[in-house]
């Protein structure tokens, strides 16, 4: 667990981070979102003491980080940065094995761990072991970056805009893989990004920052439903907010069992999002879809009218 209590950071007269408090329970994925210069990266780098905080208290599992030797602290925390920061003079294997070697693991253990991680991140060992960073594509390099961060199996992972420099298709693919990885590994993750869609897709807990302060934090759905001010609302996409919310909702949650009516022409798999369902309705000029399971067998109905009514009920119940 990571806990920041009333933490501030000043560089000379300038206050980069102003009195923030944040709690990331074990196994939670927390995203810090904001425009550039809002202090999100500074916040992240204070956790592994690349930057020392000026005021307040930062604790890991209840122990203040000031009590740790910074070097030992960093070896316990995985760290991924935007431009990968891979060592250009080392091949993939040597790059990934860095922290275990620093921790004096045996050669055999390091090798086994590196191969395990390459497997986990979809980097075939035979093909990639002896490649150098400049021979990798952006996506492959960042996979190596993530593998390097996970190498010593740290509980905590800090990621500083890890996918910021990638093309949209690669970025989306890596986001999906990271989500799957997190579902398996349950690391405590602090993830910095300026891309709200990325944050919405990955985070359990969303923190919106501006000018060194936390403006609002909560679950992605809570923020979408009740943005606290116009800035958060615009960060969340303004008019697009409804669709972003729909993207976080599964078809499964709004489906009704098969009615007596004929099945609709258009079919949608049950694990798709409501946003994809709405898109399909617009495309096919219909207000009703047949929900199918993974074997394409119809299992339910999705009707636009019902979706809207449920949304109204949700809103009403919260008002009360």
């Amino acid at each position: 667990m990571i806990e920041l209590t009333r933490v501030s950071k000043r560089f000379g007269d300038e206050t980069a981070v102003n009195d923030i408090s944040l709690r990331v329970p074990k196994g939670e994925f927390c995203a810090l979102v904001g425009t550039s210069g809002c202090g999100k990266s500074t916040t992240l780098r204070m956790i592994n003491r690349l930057i020392e905080h000026s005021e307040g208290d930062i604790t890991l599992d209840g122990q203040s980080i000031g009590a740790y030797d910074p070097v030992r602290l960093r070896r316990r925390i995985g760290y991924v940065i935007q431009h990968t920061g891979l060592f250009p003079h080392w091949n993939v294997v040597r790059n990934i094995g860095l922290v275990p070697r620093l921790l004096k693991w045996s050669t055999a253990d390091v090798q086994a761990r590196v191969e395990e991680l390459m497997d986990l991140l979809g980097l075939p060992v035979v093909e990639f072991s002896h490649k150098y960073p400049h021979q990798l594509s952006g996506g492959q390099a960042q996979r190596v970056g993530v593998a390097r961060a996970l190498a010593a199996d740290p509980d905590i992972l800090l990621m500083d805009e890890p996918f910021g420099a990638l093309d949209p298709i690669t970025r989306e693919k890596l986001q999906e893989e990271l989500a799957k990885l997190q579902a398996r590994l349950h690391k405590t993750v602090v993830f910095v990004t300026h891309d709200m869609d990325e944050a919405l897709k990955l985070a359990d807990h969303l923190v919106v920052m501006r000018e060194g302060r936390i403006i609002q934090q909560g679950s992605p759905l809570a923020l979408l439903q009740h943005p606290s001010d116009p800035f958060v609302e615009s960060m969340l996409g303004g008019l697009e907010r409804g669709l972003k919310q729909a993207a976080l909702t599964r078809v499964k949650d709004h489906m009704t069992s098969m009615g007596p009516t004929l099945p609709a022409q258009s079919r949608i798999p049950v694990n798709f999002s409501l946003r994809q369902a709405l898109s399909m309705m617009l495309r096919d000029h219909t207000d009703r879809l047949t929900v199918v399971d993974q074997h394409d067998v119809p299992i339910g109905d999705l009707s636009l009218r019902r979706v809207i009514k449920e949304a109204q009920l949700d809103k009403g119940s919260i008002r009360e």
Partner: protein
């Protein structure tokens, strides 16, 4: 059909075969030099200055015709060159280089009277011009064929071997060989001294340079002052620096017996080394400092974030990444020191410069060459090998 398919495919330039103006003009220069200048000179003994001879007299008709034909061929082939033609051109160039000592052997038979054992053959202007231009041709062809430096270097080594064999076996009458034979023991000693001076100067400036560069990185204020001093040292003419060191070192040697025992004196090795190191420090420190500073901050930040200690970051990340630029500094320093050491002969430090200054004193140009050519060769060899080493140490083998 996409827009790209509809566009006319661009003509491949290769087929257009424009004349290679560089090679054609180089071949013309060689032809003119070959016919207009003296090819060799002949002197009955060391004291008399020689008489020059043109190609016809030196090589006879067959030799002159062969050389002219080869030179013309280079120009003609280069008029419409293809990939294969460039390869043929390499063969022609190398053939000419190999034929050069053979031509000398021929002229030694044609020109030298067996009754005059003192007679000596000198290389004429045409020889030097053609040799120089042939090297230029090789560089041009290398660039056109996109070859690495390796093959041309190997070819040149082969050519040098042929020259050396010819000189050792059949060219006793060549003035350069005579100068060498007259003092081959001295020559070896001189090369030894030269290498020793360069070796000590460069290795101490590498160590001092690294230390200074690291101090500069730690104390920013030192940086300006140190660079100012080193820049100033570089502007003092080498001869003046030797002169300036003469008086204080002589004084030290006569007043501090301990230093005199160590070999410190106004002339000789000590002042030479001090001056050489002073000159070597600037390129060394500048390159080392830049090399260490230019390592990507992202990489260093990552190293820190991964939990590497300061020492580990320096030895495992910063230094290896700086190494190619650092070696570039060693290369420049060494090449410069090889040249400067020649001047050190003036204050009695020995080395190949001895022959240059003695030769100048005796107006014996061939003796000057005996000192100058090995210096040139040393510089080229060091330049090529350290360059190749820096190339090989690029991060990840390439970039």
């Amino acid at each position: 059909m996409s827009l790209l398919d509809a566009m006319p495919t661009p003509r491949i330039r290769w087929k257009g075969r424009h004349p290679n103006v560089v090679l054609v003009s180089l071949s013309l220069i060689m032809l003119v030099a070959f016919w207009a200048f003296d090819v060799v000179s002949m002197a009955p003994n060391r004291i008399v200055s020689g008489t020059g001879y043109g190609a016809l007299e030196a090589f006879g008709w067959p030799g002159t015709l062969l050389a002219t034909l080869l030179l013309v061929t280079i120009g003609v082939v280069a008029w419409q060159p293809s990939h294969r033609h460039y390869r043929a051109l390499i063969v022609a160039v190398v053939l000419l280089m190999v034929l050069m000592p053979v031509g000398l052997i021929a002229s030694s038979y044609l020109l030298i009277d067996p009754e005059l054992p003192q007679a000596r053959l000198g290389l004429g202007a045409a020889y030097w011009v053609v040799l120089f231009v042939l090297l230029l041709c090789l560089i041009e062809i290398r660039l056109r064929l996109n070859l690495t430096r390796f093959w041309p270097t190997l070819l040149l080594c082969g050519v040098a071997l042929v020259w050396w064999l010819c000189a050792a076996l059949w060219l006793d009458s060549l003035a350069l060989v005579q100068e060498y034979n007259a003092r081959n023991q001295l020559f070896l000693t001189a090369i030894g001294q030269h290498l020793r001076l360069v070796g000590i100067a460069v290795s101490s400036s590498v160590v001092l340079g690294l230390l200074l560069a690291m101090l500069m990185r730690r104390y920013a204020r030192l940086q300006k002052g140190a660079f100012a001093v080193l820049n100033f040292l570089q502007t003092i003419p080498s001869l003046a620096l030797f002169g300036l060191l003469l008086a204080p070192l002589a004084w030290l040697a006569s007043n501090v017996p301990f230093l005199a025992q160590l070999g410190v004196s106004g002339i000789g090795t000590t002042p030479a080394l001090i001056a050489l190191i002073a000159y070597s420090l600037l390129p060394m420190v500048r390159n080392t400092y830049t090399a260490l500073e230019e390592v990507s901050p992202d990489t260093l930040e990552a190293a820190k974030g991964m939990g590497m200690r300061a020492g580990q970051r320096f030895w495992q990340v910063r230094l290896p990444l700086a190494l190619p630029v650092l070696l570039e500094g060693v290369r420049i320093t060494t090449v410069q020191a090889i040249g400067l050491t020649a001047v050190a002969a003036l204050i009695g430090a020995g080395g190949l410069g001895t022959f240059i200054f003695q030769g100048l004193g005796q107006a014996a140009m061939d003796m000057v060459l005996l000192g100058a050519l090995p210096i040139l060769a040393l510089a080229l060899v060091v330049d090529a090998s350290l360059g190749a080493l820096a190339e090989a140490l690029r991060p990840g083998g390439a970039q």
